[in-house]
């Protein structure tokens, strides 16, 4: 295979790495540079990254099966790249004021490279390398608000719990290697026997390790503090990109490696999914800080995503992709509003949003659309996302789980409406005054609102996702 071929297969990794190296060179050789130029350059290269990903259909493996790529994996990478682009635009005004904006991009691009490798891995060793590469720079990003002690606290919690979960994963992997004699996905799948208790133990450890990364209850405890402490851009990244990438590889591993054990992991995941939705919801109800609130709401959203994973059908997988895309737009949109408000006024409590509609009508309407999409209210895309996940669950006959899920939809509506009520109904003597929004945030907000309001009526998108999905 020619070098060009390899580069074509690893185009995401190669280009992102190129940008990282260039940023480092700029840092070393240029004394004083214009922040807007650098930020514009990175954003443009992310757009380019998305653009070139649609050229051709790379397919194949490299490094002796360690790395593989096909259309589905390309789709997964496209989804997280799109999310990163939106976050990067959203963070523009914050980064311009930040002294270390260049390092921010070096770190976050390293994280995304790690995720690319993780998604493309064909071997648990490669997967683990990618995972660590995605985790460690992320923890330092969580501490990027240098003068806030909570930021450091969040980063500390994150690195400790990540290390813990990695240890659990590694332990599972070592057992797996001991029993199947390989770490290659295909070989493990061939040699995996349902009768061996040791292998089931390995599966259980792997599940727990993944559950940490996707912040599934009861492995979610690090989420709230880290989300609250981190800068908003990092919080959005954690709640959307990290979760998405981990979920994608989780799904691939379950379907392609542990497909034979569907019965076993299905029952475990049904329980985890029900717990995640319910506990996430119950905690979200009591939050007064909007970032913590969104953290818990994103925990419960992960519970719905698991429904699609559990089904093991290609429609279930397509629903997971579909929901993930919608969730990216809804959640990043919501975080953009939070970021705009916090950037201009420094306020982050739900009470501060009282009467926002009087002073900032457009911002409030946008946040309402995002919250309704998260709650699954038509005509927003969130309605379709949730219904498709639940319909895939119905095809698989998960009626008990669906009952819990629909009850949770009612509970979640209560707390999403709380914020809508604060903005539109509650009276406030001194609401936040009208402030200027930067153009990048405006663009993200408008884009997200348009996508959320129209996605459900563009049925070919779901068709496209379904054509790239596979079942057990």
């Amino acid at each position: 295979m020619s070098l060009l071929n390899y580069i074509s297969m690893m185009r995401f990794e190669a280009l992102a790495l190129g940008v990282v190296i260039m940023l480092l060179l700029v840092k070393v050789f240029s004394e004083k540079m214009n922040a807007s130029v650098v930020l514009g350059f990175v954003n443009l290269s992310l757009v380019a990254l998305l653009g070139i990903s649609f050229v051709g259909h790379p397919h194949g493996t490299a490094f002796g099966g360690m790395f593989r790529i096909d259309s589905t994996l390309m789709l997964e990478k496209q989804i997280i790249t799109l999310a990163l682009l939106l976050i990067s635009l959203q963070a523009n005004s914050w980064l311009k004021k930040h002294s270390s904006y260049l390092e921010f991009y070096v770190l976050i691009l390293s994280v995304i490279i790690g995720m690319y490798f993780m998604i493309s891995s064909g071997n648990f060793l490669m997967f683990y390398l990618g995972l660590e590469m995605a985790t460690i720079p992320l923890a330092s990003l969580a501490a990027f608000d240098f003068d806030r002690i909570k930021s450091a606290e969040g980063a500390g919690k994150m690195i400790l719990s990540s290390a813990f979960s990695s240890a659990i994963l590694l332990f599972g992997l070592s057992i797996l290697y001991g029993t199947t004699g390989s770490l290659d996905f295909n070989r493990v799948a061939e040699n995996f026997s349902l009768t061996s208790h040791l292998e089931l133990l390995a599966l259980a450890f792997l599940l727990a390790g993944f559950a940490f990364k996707i912040s599934v209850v009861p492995f979610h405890l690090w989420t709230a503090d880290t989300y609250e402490g981190s800068p908003i851009a990092v919080t959005s990244f954690l709640s959307v990109v990290s979760k998405g990438a981990a979920l994608f590889i989780f799904m691939t591993a379950l379907y392609q490696v542990f497909g034979a054990a569907h019965e076993k992991w299905m029952n475990a995941l049904v329980l985890l999914s029900a717990l995640t939705m319910t506990i996430g919801n119950l905690f979200a109800m009591r939050q007064s800080n909007i970032k913590r609130f969104l953290a818990f709401s994103s925990i419960s959203q992960a519970g719905y995503l698991l429904i699609g994973v559990i089904t093991g059908s290609s429609l279930g997988m397509a629903s997971v992709f579909y929901f993930m895309i919608i969730y990216i737009f809804s959640n990043i949109g919501a975080f953009t509003v939070v970021s705009v408000v916090s950037e201009n006024t420094g306020k982050e409590n739900i009470d501060d949003y009282k009467g926002l509609y009087k002073t900032n009508p457009m911002l409030s309407l946008a946040l309402m659309v995002f919250l309704f999409s998260l709650a699954g209210i038509p005509p927003t895309a969130g309605f379709f996302g949730k219904l498709f996940l639940m319909t895939s669950g119905a095809s698989a006959g998960l009626i008990a789980l669906l009952i819990i899920a629909s009850l949770n939809m009612v509970i979640s509506l209560y707390y999403y409406l709380r914020i809508v009520k604060a903005m539109f109904v509650d009276k406030n003597e001194s609401p936040l005054e009208d402030f200027a929004k930067d153009n990048y945030s405006k663009f993200v907000l408008i884009f997200c609102v348009i996508v959320i309001l129209t996605l459900g009526f563009c049925n070919y998108i779901f068709g496209y996702l379904q054509s790239l999905s596979f079942g057990l």
Binding site: M390, I399, V410, L413, Y414, L417, F462
Partner: protein, 502 residues
């Protein structure tokens, strides 16, 4: 007739209102849109009557929405949905007219009100959901519109309402969403069974041909019936209704009682009973008991109310009990009666809430015993109040009599003791109704004028007269010549339920 128009007109009106800045312009557009909708509904009625006698689904339209799940945008109408669409468009026009001066409205506390643009957008969004719900034949599409019709209510009540509006709005929306969660489980259950049968579908017509085992039917029916029952304030899920109705602004009360509660009744009939007739028959004694409790309980609680808006809210619980009762009685006549009662109660209660709102706007009180002699100062509103009251107690000549009579006759066709006793109990509630209606009329309208400031109160303005006029005309048409409608509905019931129903 292109049925999609019925969804497009209100939706385009919403978009048009979004584009204008001025509140005055917004209400003009809203009124134009709702009149266009009424015209479209009437056109649909006449073209349906020209071609069909009610025995079949007409003007069907089906487009693939999501092929992967077999979700189709499938719409069509028969006599029952036509009746509902007509009701909705009449109430819509009246609702917009009543809210003409929402900008400086005093029906709510002084702090709320204003924002006419947002108000009309929400009102029309709610209507879009209701129209879509009544004409869709695909369960997914139907559920989409169903939920679309729920959320605007929260904002309508919480922003423009009065009293303990935030509590009432939250209670209402959570209870209705609880109902819709039950419906959702029912729909997904249907999908699951259709997958098991090899033909995954959400289509009502296809699902009606699906053969389900006894246990499957018995599992699905309570979910669907109770889920829709929450919306039609079926006992014991009625508690949202009094709070919601009495806190809502006038137009929203009219919509809630006139349209939303009908979503429930229509869903019970069109989805639950139509798809699961056997289970419906088995559950019917329990439903009848609940309906009778609801009818009597609603009537007796109404007796205790001083607040006339609260009074009408509780009487709605009682009146909607007749809808549930008619459906559960399982004779064609009773079912026709149930549909007629939905239409009749819709226009009657909309008229009642409208006139109560108008009186409150002038007298600034809703307590019946603080009013008095209002007939002398506002004869038009007083007469309309009396017409609404007489319709409510079922005076011949008005729609209430036709509908309730049909339900009772249909119910009495069941020859056994249980059904007869239930019918008699339900009929007895009419006496109670007469007591509270006549008392309210007597206290509020007759007698001496209680406060001096009442003497200077103006009578109805043009928009109020027009709104009340439209509703009164609808009531009288239904009350004096119901057969063009009831015959069509009878044919539709025959097609829908055929053998299953006596």
């Amino acid at each position: 007739m292109n049925l999609s128009l019925l969804i497009l007109i209100p939706f385009l009106t919403v978009l048009a209102i979004l584009l204008v800045k001025d509140g005055k312009m917004a209400r003009v557009i809203a009124l134009a849109g709702s009149f266009a909708q009424l015209a479209a509904a009437l056109f649909m009625l006449f073209s349906y009557m020209k071609l069909h006698d009610g025995s079949r689904l007409a003007f069907e339209e089906s487009h693939v929405w999501f092929a992967q799940w077999n979700i189709n945008y499938h719409i069509g109408v028969d006599a029952i949905s036509i009746a509902m669409v007509l009701l909705t468009s009449v109430v819509l026009v009246a609702g917009v007219l009543v809210s003409w001066n929402i900008e400086k409205s005093t029906t709510s506390d002084p702090s709320s009100g204003g924002q006419p643009k947002e108000f009309f957008i929400l009102l029309l969004l709610l209507a879009t959901g209701a129209f879509g719900f009544f004409i869709s034949v695909d369960l997914f599409t139907q559920f989409f519109f169903f939920e679309l019709a729920v959320i605007p209510k929260y904002l309508l009540i919480a922003i423009w309402g009065s009293g303990k509006k935030e509590y009432a709005a939250m209670k209402l929306v959570l209870m209705l969403m609880g109902g819709s969660a039950m419906v959702l489980i029912g729909i997904l259950g249907f999908y699951h069974f259709s997958v098991a049968a090899g033909t995954p579908t959400f289509d009502l017509l296809a699902l009606s041909k699906l053969s389900l085992t006894h246990n499957q039917q018995m599992f699905l029916f309570p979910l669907l019936f109770a889920g829709f029952g929450v919306l039609s304030a079926m006992f014991p899920f009625h508690t949202w209704a009094p709070d919601g109705h009495s806190s809502a602004p006038t137009a929203a009360s009219m919509f809630l009682a006139g349209i939303s509660m009908k979503l429930g009744g229509y869903g019970c009939l069109r989805v639950a009973v139509y798809l699961l007739p056997d289970a419906a028959r088995e559950y019917s004694p329990y439903i009848i008991i609940l309906a009778c409790i609801g009818i009597l309980y609603g009537a007796f609680v109404t007796l205790k109310q001083r607040d006339i808006k609260m009074m009408n809210a509780y009487s709605s619980v009682s009146h909607c009990g007749f809808v549930i009762l008619g459906i559960a009685m399982f004779t064609k006549t009773a079912m026709v009666g149930a549909v007629l009662q939905m239409v009749s109660h819709g226009v009657m209660t909309a008229l009642f809430f409208a006139v109560i709102g108008m009186i409150y706007e002038r007298s600034h009180t809703r307590m019946g015993d603080e009013m008095g002699g209002l007939m002398k100062v506002m004869p038009f509103l007083g007469s309309v109040f009396i017409i609404a009251g007489l319709t409510s107690l079922g005076l011949p000549g008005f729609s209430g009599f036709v509908a309730e009579m049909t339900v009772f006759v249909g119910s009495f066709q069941n020859a056994d003791l249980f059904h007869r006793v239930a019918t008699i109990i339900a009929t007895a509630s009419i006496v109670v109704t007469a007591v509270y209606i006549l008392r309210a009329v007597g206290i509020a309208l007759w007698g001496p004028i209680k406060k001096i400031e009442f003497e200077k109160l103006p009578d109805a303005a043009w928009n109020e007269k027009l709104a009340a006029g439209i509703l009164v005309v609808a009531i009288v048409i239904l009350g004096t010549m119901p057969f063009w409608l009831s015959d069509m509905i009878y044919k539709t019931t025959e097609t829908l339920f055929g053998m299953a129903v006596k």
